[in-house]
Each structure stands twice: as structure tokens, then as C-alpha cells.
């Protein structure tokens, strides 16, 4: 890290700790412990919400059940609008899980006061502001759309690489690499940028002034979760339909 930024992070209120991690050694692997802790908390929140909502199901929903039914309807509409009426159902759990995990992760980074909990090295933050989390999610999306294509068309799936003309073969192959790359970088960059901007503003003016930027951060976090889920659905749809007429 640069020296100037080190003097910034010596201040007690706002620290910019990019690139400092709490390392856990598991076998030969070095893993980022703070991401695991926050991911587990996010998973626990989601599990608790689902259990609470489905424990005592009523015909007229109230409270937690109402909220989760709203979320389910929202996700169903999202998947239906991208994948179409006939094919959306088997992919709804995947797309819904992606959206809910990313959404709760992003918002937990902004709403849960992680900075009050001190860990030996690094700091707790949204799990999605670590590139490893977003790359894992993006690679899962890649596997999902390859699986969708193979299941529907078998080896005929590869025909889409040479379908209009074989000249475009390199670009078609390159596309399979740029899709996970852009998905993961988009999410990672947005969340990290949000946290950095908020940290810098808190550093300059600790009271009240950062609040509008925090609200903007909440908004973009939600939009990014929506964008990730929408794009995952669009890629799966493209693999199911043959070569895409819709490019993002």
C-alpha cells in the first residue's frame, strides 16, 4: 500500500483496509477468514428468515411470511421475464439464491456496524467486496449456463459457436471468458467503490454528510444484485435458445 494511505488508516475513525486480510490456514490453503465469517452470518440471516417464514404457514400471510412471499413473487417475475414462461421454473432456485445472497451481503456491508467488531487483522465488511466471492458466484453462473445448454441440446450446443459464420469463432470463445470476468468485476468494483467512498467521506466529515452517499450506496447495492441476477438469467436463456440475439 502507498505511504500516504497508510497515514490515513492510522486515524481511528475511518480506516481504508484494502488488501489486508485475516488469513486462516487450512491445509495448504490460505483463506480470507473475514469473508468466511461475514458470509456465514449472511447465510444464517437468510436461513433464519426462511425458517421463520415457513414455520407456521397461514392462508392470509402476515409478518415474515408476507415479506418472503413478496420476495418470492419478485424473483419469480424476474426469472419469468428473462427466461420465459415455459423454462423459468427449474432455474428459479438458482437465480433466486444468487439474488438473495448478493442482496443481503451488499446490504449487510452498509447496515451492520461491522467496524465495531475488531478482528486481529483486516476488517469485517460485505462478503461481496472480496474478489474471490464474486468470482465464485460468476463461475457458478458460467457452469449453470453451460449445463443448461448441454442439457437442452447435448453436443449440438457447440453449434452456436460457428452458427452464423465460423469466422466469429474466436469471439464466441472469448465471450465465454468475458462473461464471468465482467460479472465478477462489476459486482466487486461497485461494492468496494461504495465502501471506499463512504470511508473517505467519513474520514473528511465524520457526521451527517456521508448519509446521502450511504443511501446511494444502498441503492446501487440493490441495483447490482438485481443486475447480477438478471444477467445470470439472460445468459442461461441465451444458452437455452441458441446463439443470442440479446447482448449485454
Amino acid at each position: 500500500m502507498l505511504d500516504v494511505l497508510d497515514t490515513f488508516s492510522a486515524l481511528p475513525i475511518a480506516s481504508l483496509e484494502v488488501g489486508h486480510h485475516l488469513y486462516w490456514h487450512i491445509g495448504n490453503l490460505k483463506v480470507h477468514g473475514q469473508v468466511f465469517i461475514t458470509s456465514w452470518i449472511v447465510i444464517a440471516i437468510l436461513l433464519t428468515a426462511s425458517v421463520l417464514a415457513t414455520r407456521n404457514i397461514q392462508r392470509v400471510p402476515t409478518g415474515a411470511q408476507n415479506l418472503m412471499e413478496y420476495a418470492l413473487e419478485f424473483l419469480r417475475d424476474l426469472a419469468k421475464s428473462q427466461l420465459g414462461e415455459k423454462e423459468y421454473r427449474p432455474w428459479l432456485p438458482f437465480i433466486g439464491t444468487l439474488f438473495l445472497f448478493i442482496f443481503v451481503s451488499n446490504w449487510s456491508g452498509a447496515l451492520v456496524p461491522w467496524k465495531l467488531i475488531h478482528i486481529p487483522e483486516g476488517e469485517l465488511a460485505a462478503p461481496t467486496n472480496d474478489i474471490n466471492t464474486t468470482v465464485a458466484l460468476a463461475l457458478l453462473t458460467s457452469i449453470a449456463y453451460f449445463y443448461a445448454g448441454f442439457k437442452k441440446k447435448g453436443l449440438g450446443y457447440f453449434a452456436k459457436y460457428i452458427e452464423p459464420t465460423p469466422i466469429l469463432l474466436p469471439i464466441a470463445i472469448l465471450e465465454d471468458f468475458t462473461k464471468p470476468l465482467s460479472l465478477s468485476f462489476r459486482l466487486f468494483g461497485n461494492i468496494l467503490a461504495d465502501e471506499l467512498v463512504v470511508a473517505v467521506l467519513v474520514l473528511l466529515v465524520p457526521l451527517f454528510v456521508p448519509i446521502p452517499v450511504m443511501m446511494l450506496g444502498l441503492f446501487t447495492s440493490a441495483i447490482q444484485a438485481l443486475v447480477f441476477a438478471t444477467l445470470a438469467a439472460a445468459y442461461i436463456h441465451e444458452a437455452l435458445e441458441g446463439h443470442g440475439e440479446e447482448e449485454h
Binding site: M1, L2, L5, V18, G19, S182, F185, R186, F188, G189, N190, L192, A193, L196, T220, I223, Q224, L226, V227, T230, H248
Partner: protein
């Protein structure tokens, strides 16, 4: 860190995010202008236009974010230090 590498990295980081902001800025301006025009022509479609606009703005913004990722790598995880 070598002061020359450090200076070049800071300059490159500023250029990366600054240049990456130009194109999406123009694009987002165009998109927002067209959306306002669309709402003026057809005020009852405002909700639909706003939803689509926000989603497309997020796509355009991701281009700047790529530049930002490059500058963050240069500042915090510099491969040449």
C-alpha cells in the same frame, strides 16, 4: 517502493478512472435525455421507463467501474511494488 513506480502508479490510477468515466458519462447522458423525452411524450409509461433506465445506467456504470478496479489494483495491490 521505487518512487518512480509509485508516481507512475498514482498517475496511471488517476488516468484510468478519469478516462473510463468519459464514455459512460456521454452514454448515461444520452440515455437519461431520451428517457426524459419518452416520459414527456408518454407520461403514463413513466414507471416502466424508469425501471429500464436504472438497469441500463447500471450496465453503463460498470464500464467506469472496470477502470476503477484497475486503479484500485494499482493503488492497493500494485503488482510492480
Amino acid at each position: 517502493m521505487d518512487p518512480l513506480v509509485s508516481a507512475a502508479s498514482v498517475l496511471a490510477a488517476a488516468l484510468a478512472v478519469g478516462l473510463a468515466a468519459i464514455g459512460p458519462g456521454i452514454g448515461q447522458g444520452n440515455a437519461a435525455g431520451q428517457a426524459v423525452e419518452g416520459i414527456a411524450r408518454q407520461p403514463e409509461a413513466e414507471g416502466k421507463i424508469r425501471g429500464t433506465l436504472l438497469l441500463t445506467l447500471a450496465f453503463m456504470e460498470s464500464l467506469t467501474i472496470y477502470g476503477l478496479v484497475i486503479s484500485l489494483v494499482l493503488l492497493f495491490a500494485n503488482p510492480f511494488s
